[in-house]
C-alpha cells in the first residue's frame, strides 16, 4: 500500500492500516537497527519502542505527514543512538551465543563470519549520519532520495556522506586482516 494512502488511516488508528504498517516496516527497522547495534535483544527493544512512539504520535495528532518510512527510520536511529550511549560499547558487537564458532564449522563459514564482524566494527566507527547512509543504501538498498528523506538532508549531502563513509571504511578494512579485502585489493 502506498505510504500516502496509508497515513490518513494510521492517523485514525485504523487496525488494518496499523497491521500493514507493522508487517511492512518492522523487518526493515529490525535489520537497520541491528546493523547499528549488533545486538538482538537491544534491536528488539528499539524496534518495539519505535512503533510505540508511532502510536503515541498518531494519537496526539502528530507523527509522519508524508513519509512514514523515513519517519520510522529517523526515530529508530535516534533511539538506537540513545540506547548505545546509555550502555557500554562492550555490550555491542559481540558474537551471539548461538553464533559462537564451533570446531565443526567449515572454514568458509568461519571466514564469512569473521568478515561480518570486521564490517560491524568498521561500521560502528563511522559517524551516525555515515552509518545511516551506509546501512540504508548498501545493506537495505534504499535510493539516495529515500536516504535523504530519512536524514532530512539534500541528496547532495547524502552523496558526500556516502563517499566519506566508504573511504573511511576502506581505510579501516585495509588496516585489518580481512581476507576478503585482501583478495579484492
Amino acid at each position: 500500500m502506498d505510504e500516502r494512502a496509508l497515513l490518513p488511516l494510521l492517523q485514525a488508528l485504523d487496525e488494518k492500516a496499523l497491521e500493514v504498517a507493522y508487517n511492512t516496516f518492522q523487518p526493515l527497522l529490525y535489520r537497520y537497527v541491528y546493523h547499528l547495534l549488533g545486538n538482538l535483544e537491544a534491536t528488539e527493544d528499539v524496534v518495539g519502542e519505535t512503533f510505540h512512539r508511532l502510536l503515541r504520535a498518531l494519537d496526539a495528532g502528530h507523527g509522519p505527514r508524508q513519509y512514514l518510512q523515513a519517519w520510522l527510520y529517523r526515530v529508530a536511529h535516534n533511539l538506537a543512538i540513545d540506547y548505545f550511549r546509555q550502555r557500554s560499547p562492550e555490550s555491542f558487537y559481540t558474537l551471539e551465543e548461538d553464533r559462537l564458532i564451533s570446531p565443526e564449522e567449515p572454514e568458509e563459514e568461519v571466514q564469512r563470519r569473521w568478515t561480518q564482524e570486521q564490517l560491524h566494527h568498521a561500521l560502528q566507527r563511522l559517524t551516525p549520519d555515515q552509518q545511516i547512509v551506509v546501512v540504508l543504501k548498501f545493506l537495505e538498498g534504499l535510493g539516495n532520495e529515500q536516504v535523504a528523506e530519512v536524514l532530512g538532508k539534500p541528496v547532495g549531502a547524502v552523496k558526500s556522506l556516502q563517499h566519506r563513509a566508504l573511504a573511511r571504511m576502506r581505510r579501516m578494512l585495509e588496516a585489518s586482516d580481512l581476507p576478503l579485502w585482501e583478495e579484492n585489493r
Binding site: L7, P8, Q11, A12, L13, E15, L18, E19, Y22, N23, Q26, P27, Y30, R31, Y34, H35, L40, T43, E44, V47, G48, F51, H52, L55, L58, D59, A60, G61, E96, R99, R112, T115, Q116, L119, H120, V134, K137, F138, L139, E140, G141, L142, G143, H163, L166, A167, M169, R170, L173, L180, W181, N184, R185
Partner: protein, 405 residues
Amino acid sequence: MRKRSAERLDQLIEDKASEQGRLAPLVEVAKTLSQQSLVPPQPAADVEQGRRAFLAEAAELRQKRAGRRSYRSRLIASRREQAGWPAEQRVRGPQLAWAWRVAIVLVLLLGTASGTVVAAQHAGPTSLLYTVKLRSEEVRLALTADPRERADLVVALCERRVDEVAAITGAGQAVPEAVLVRLRELLEKALDEARLLPEAEMQQELEQFSATWQAHVQALEVGRAQSHDQARLSLDRAIALLMQADEYASLGLVDPGAFRQAGSAGLPWPAVGTPTPVPTTRSMPTATRTPEPTQTERPASPRAADTPRPSVPITRTPVPGSPTPPPQPTGRSGQTPGPERTAPYTQMPGPDQTPGPGQTPGSGQPPGSDQTPGPGQTPGSGQSPHPTTVPGPPNTPEPTHGRKP
C-alpha cells in the same frame, strides 16, 4: 536492491573514468557490504509477540480516543464525513481542536483578568482584591506618558486613598497602615511629578495640589470630630500627611528653586505607623510660634505652668536648603494666613493654642528679634530672653516666670 546500488556505483565509475582508480576500492567496500548478510533472522515468535503488543496498544488508544471525543466533536466529525471532505482535511481536526482550546482558554483568562480588575476598583483595603486595585493603579501610572496628566492622576489616586480612609474611619475602624503608606507614596509622587514640570506649570499644579489637599483635610477633620479612638488616630495620621504635603507644595510656590532641589526622597514625612494627633482645627502653616506664658505683672497662676500647647504638635522639620522663615509681626499667632503664602516648616498652633488672657506668643523666638519692647520694658534686661509682646502697664514688675509674687 543491493545489487542495484552497486550497479549505480559501477555506472558512476564508468562515467568518470578519470576517477576510476580512486573510487574502485570504495566500490569494493560497497560490494562487500551488500554481499554480506549481517543480520540474523529474528525469531518468528518474537515478531508475532511484538505485532500483538503493537496492535493491543493501538486498540487501547482507540478506546481512549473515543472516550475523549465529546458529543460536539463527534457531531462535527460526522458532518465532515457527510460533507465528503477529503481525508487529509479530516486529519487536521485535532490540530484545529487544539487551536480552539487555546483560543478559548486565552479568552477566558483575559475575561477573568479584566473582570477582576474592574471589580477591584471598588475594593476596600480589607478586600482581597485591594492588591489588584493598587497594581492596576500602578499600571495606569506607568502607561501615562504626559507628566502633567500623570501628576493629575496621582492626585486623583490620593483622593481615592482619602476616600478609603474616610470610609474606614466612618465605620469606626482603624485604617490599615498600608493605606497610609500608599497615601504618603502618592503624595510624594505628586510632588515629584510637579518638580518635572516647567516653572509656570509647576506653580499651577502645586496650587491645584494645595487646594485639593486642603479640601481633603477639611473633609477628614469633619469626620474626626465625630470619630473615636482608633479611627481618630488614623484620621490624625492621614491629616498630618496631607498637611505636610500641602506644606511642601507651599514651599514650591514660595521658593521653586529650593523645592526642586530638595526632592522628595530626603524630605521628612510624619510617621504613619505611630499615632500623631493633630490639632482639631486645621490652619495653614505659618511662621508662628508656640505660645508661651506671658511675662506680665499678673501673678503667675498655677495655669502658667500648664500653658496650653498642642497635645502633640506636628513636628516641622526644615527642608534642607529651604529659606529661613521671616520673623513674624507681633500678635499674628493663630491668624489665618493671608493670600500670600508664608514659608513652611513652622510649628502650627492649634485653636487651643491661641494666646489666652495674660499669654502672649513669643516662645521660641530668638533673642534680639526686631520686636519692639513694650513701654516700661527694658530691652535686653536679662530677665527675659523673650521680649514681651503685650504691652504692660508702666510699672510692670519684672516677669515672674512662674514665681509667685
